[in-house]
């Protein structure tokens, strides 16, 4: 049996129904998490099943709109809608990180809505991660990590750490395949990345590892770096591919340095999350971040995609665009975008990619 279709089927199933994998969990707690700034290790160490919680981009949010103001990031609005409709009732808790401004606000909102009896559902938990490169923030994050571990009932073992490490190695392999001379299509890699948060079982890793050996490659596409906000689906990727390109890397979520093992694994986790940087902060720290990143993946061009509700990237993107121009790297800025890209945006993107001169 060819492993490729089965893994693709698995991805489709997860992306169409993100709760599919956890529905089979029996007598296990399921704990949701929002964003990449939450230590999944602690959820696993609590003998619970982790589930990345996202909302659909095209679903209406009438209940969330009653309580969340217009400037909330739409991904969090969609999560709130799920919460308020009872769609998350099967979860024991949802962990939200202070590293994400909308997520930490949602924590307070959901606590209040539950307190007032307006909704039920999972217990909101806050991972109060420090965001400054300072010893006081490091100590605060360690204490917050301990508190989260206690709230989850985590007894941190090597098994949980290894579980996450294996998943990270897998995703690193996928990322590496995308930057090959004949890369894995960006849209497929994106699907793997997205689906991986919905299924933390070892079978997913097993299947992905088999699949990646034989996954098809593209032949000499125009290589595009996507930076900015996290898109809700792979429509940007597909538009790029329709114009003969491929997104070889995304800089759309916070990223951190490699984990440095410490005798106390809680310190390892705390340091890692405290040192993660959002896209906007990475831009703040390095005016040529996009230039450096584009060169690292041999990108022919950069697409910066910023949604209307983002309040930090607009302050950094002009400087990055200037440095891209100075470096002679073609770049398209799509600012004030709707979270679900419009047809007009996709046309603009296709037209841009079609004009990019691929380096040979």
């Amino acid at each position: 049996m060819n492993p490729l279709p089965s893994f693709n089927d698995r991805l489709s199933l997860l992306l169409n129904d993100p709760f599919a994998a956890v529905k089979g969990a029996r007598n296990e707690r399921i704990i949701g998490y929002v964003g990449e700034d939450v230590p999944v290790e602690l959820i696993l160490a609590a003998n619970a099943v982790p589930l990345r919680v996202r909302g659909a981009a095209n679903a209406p949010t009438p209940r969330a709109d009653r309580y969340l103001e217009s400037a909330f990031m739409p991904e969090l609005r969609a999560v709130a809608e799920l919460w308020l409709t009872g769609a998350l009732d099967f979860l024991d808790a949802v962990v939200l990180s202070r590293a994400d401004d909308s997520a930490q606000r949602l924590y307070y909102y959901m606590c209040e809505l539950q307190h007032r009896g307006i909704c039920g559902g999972p217990l909101p938990l806050l991972y109060d991660v420090g965001t400054l490169p300072r010893q006081t923030s490091r100590a605060h994050t360690l204490e917050s990590t301990r508190r989260l571990a206690a709230a989850l009932g985590a007894n941190l073992t090597e098994t949980a750490l290894q579980r996450v490490a294996r998943r990270e190695r897998l995703l690193d392999r996928v990322r590496a395949r995308r930057t090959d001379a004949a890369p894995l299509a960006g849209s497929i890699a994106w699907r793997v990345q997205q689906a991986s948060g919905y299924d933390w079982r070892a079978e997913f890793d097993d299947a992905a590892e088999r699949w990646i050996e034989t996954a098809p490659s593209l032949s000499g596409p125009r290589r595009i770096l996507l930076a900015g906000d996290l898109p809700p689906d792979e429509r940007l990727h597909l538009a790029v591919e329709a114009a003969g390109g491929s997104i070889v890397a995304e800089l759309v979520e916070s990223c951190g340095p490699a984990r440095v093992a410490h005798a106390n694994p809680l310190v390892t986790i705390a340091d890692y999350f405290q040192q993660r940087r959002s896209v906007a902060v990475s831009m703040r720290m390095n005016p040529s971040w996009l230039v450096d990143s584009a060169r690292a993946v041999r990108a022919d061009a950069v697409v910066a995609w910023l949604i209307e509700e983002d309040e930090s990237l607009p302050w950094e993107i002009p400087r990055q665009m200037q440095s891209l121009a100075a470096a002679g790297i073609p770049a398209l800025l799509l600012s004030r975008q709707q979270w679900r890209a419009t047809d007009e945006t996709l046309s603009q993107l296709r037209a841009f990619v079609a004009c990019v001169e691929p380096a040979r």
């Binding site: 969340l68 606000r105 307070y108 965001t131 006081t136 309040e311 002009p318």
Partner: protein, 432 residues
């Protein structure tokens, strides 16, 4: 004596209290002196957000320019449109937060002929709490443009949720604001003090600091007393346009002899007005609550509703905030007491449950008939908590109207239309 003042939108705002004129006169002199110290004498100075520990700078006698005050100053010079345009030209999208970025825009414009004071010179440091997504970027760029350092302060999460926080925050502040949050800010403030000592060669005088903290408590006690009297009095003795300057101007100078004396004078004048039956409006029909920052580009909006409809803004956050959020028993730990004042200054005004529970309590205390809530369209922090507060007020029987408007950007604002809009809402509620 009434003192009509023209605002940027051309509408009159009325100021009735003698101490209002005294406060604005003092502020004028202070600004002249500040300019002399900062620009002419090139003294070390700091730029800081309003929700930072100003007491540290006051103790050092380091002149402080509050970003919010500087923004208002720029607005008052009618320069906001120019600087918003500068941001547009530099590639910042038009929906980027305006409230905190006027000062940055003024610096980036780099045109001494236009800028107030010829533009700010290089400060010793810029300080802000990271209470929203944009402030780190605005202050980071501003520091870069001015060639100096940005000293950010964490805005840690808050899991101890006491809806009645305002009843015990003066004394049980450790319980209310959480020891870990207070301790983090104390450590950060110690690092800031070290930085200022290093940069200025001055020493942080602990005795002077404690004296200042006692002074702040005394000052805020007078303001809190005035707030209580205004809430209890019928009709309302002092309009919002008098409440704001008499709270905010001393607040920029908190703990100073002038600020303490002025707060006392204000309290006394409020008491006199109540004793003599003097009202803010000759025809008080509706008692209103204003939720949000001041409408700095059109304070005449408040006066128009009072004059035309007897709809009096009895309450705005600045004055009643003084009691619960500023007064602190020192418990022999003055730096911790200060941290407890600062570490949630923003949160209690913008996050549930602290915001909504306080607003409901205040509405009940002051006999409020309806609330008007400012919702700036492109500012997550300033919008935050407004819908839940609206729901909470309505559940408590207080109708609440949201108005989409910015506090410093008048581009989308139409004075007459907004006055009519509020009046229509009050009619719909059967209040007019």
């Amino acid at each position: 004596m009434s003192e009509p003042t023209r605002t940027s939108s051309g509408q009159r705002s009325r100021k009735d209290l003698q101490c209002t004129a005294a406060a604005t006169a003092y502020q004028r002199e202070f600004v002249a002196d500040l300019r002399r110290r900062v620009v002419d004498n090139a003294e070390p100075f700091a730029i800081a957000q309003a929700d930072t520990p100003h007491e540290i700078f006051h103790t050092f006698d380091i002149p402080l320019i509050s970003n919010q005050w500087w923004s208002a100053y720029i607005s008052a010079k009618q320069l906001s449109p120019r600087y918003f345009n500068v941001l547009d030209q530099l590639g910042y999208p038009a929906n980027s937060c305006r409230y905190c970025s006027l000062g940055l825009a003024c610096t980036l414009d780099n045109d001494p002929a236009t800028a107030p004071w010829g533009g700010l010179p290089k400060p010793t440091v810029l300080v802000a709490r990271l209470t929203c997504e944009c402030i780190r970027h605005v202050f980071g760029q501003w520091a870069e443009a001015l060639g100096t350092e940005f000293f950010p302060l964490e805005a840690p999460g808050w899991t101890h949720k006491d809806p009645q926080w305002f009843e015990k925050s003066n004394s049980a502040w450790e319980e209310v604001y959480e020891p870990r949050r207070i301790e983090l800010l104390v450590e950060e403030m110690r690092a800031l003090i070290e930085l200022l000592e290093r940069r200025t060669g001055r020493k942080f005088d602990q005795e002077r600091f404690v004296e200042l903290m006692h002074g702040v408590n005394e000052q805020e006690g007078y303001i809190a007393e005035a707030a209580r009297m205004i809430g209890d009095a019928r009709p309302c003795p002092v309009s919002i346009t008098d409440q704001m300057p008499n709270t905010m101007i001393p607040q920029w100078h908190r703990g100073s002899p002038w600020a303490i004396a002025h707060a006392k004078r204000f309290r006394d004048e409020v008491a006199d007005r109540i004793a003599n039956g003097i009202a803010a409006s000759s025809n008080e029909r509706v008692r209103l609550m204003w939720i949000g920052a001041g409408l700095w580009h059109d304070p005449g909006f408040y006066s128009a509703l009072e004059d035309r409809y007897g709809a009096v803004f009895v309450w705005s956050m600045y004055m009643p905030f003084a009691g619960p959020q500023y007064i602190r028993e020192l418990h022999d730990r003055p730096l911790h007491a200060l941290a407890s004042r600062v570490c949630s200054m923003n949160e209690v005004l913008h996050l549930p449950p602290w915001m909504n529970s306080w607003m409901v309590s205040e509405a009940q205390r002051c006999g409020i008939d309806a609330a008007v809530i400012l919702v700036p369209p492109d500012n997550r922090l300033s919008q935050s908590g407004t819908l839940l507060t609206q729901h909470a007020l309505q559940s408590a029987g207080v109708p609440a109207l949201l108005i989409p408007a910015d506090m410093v950007d008048a581009k989308q604002w139409d004075h007459d239309r907004m006055v009519a809009h509020v009046a229509d809402f009050l009619r719909e509620q059967g209040l007019l």
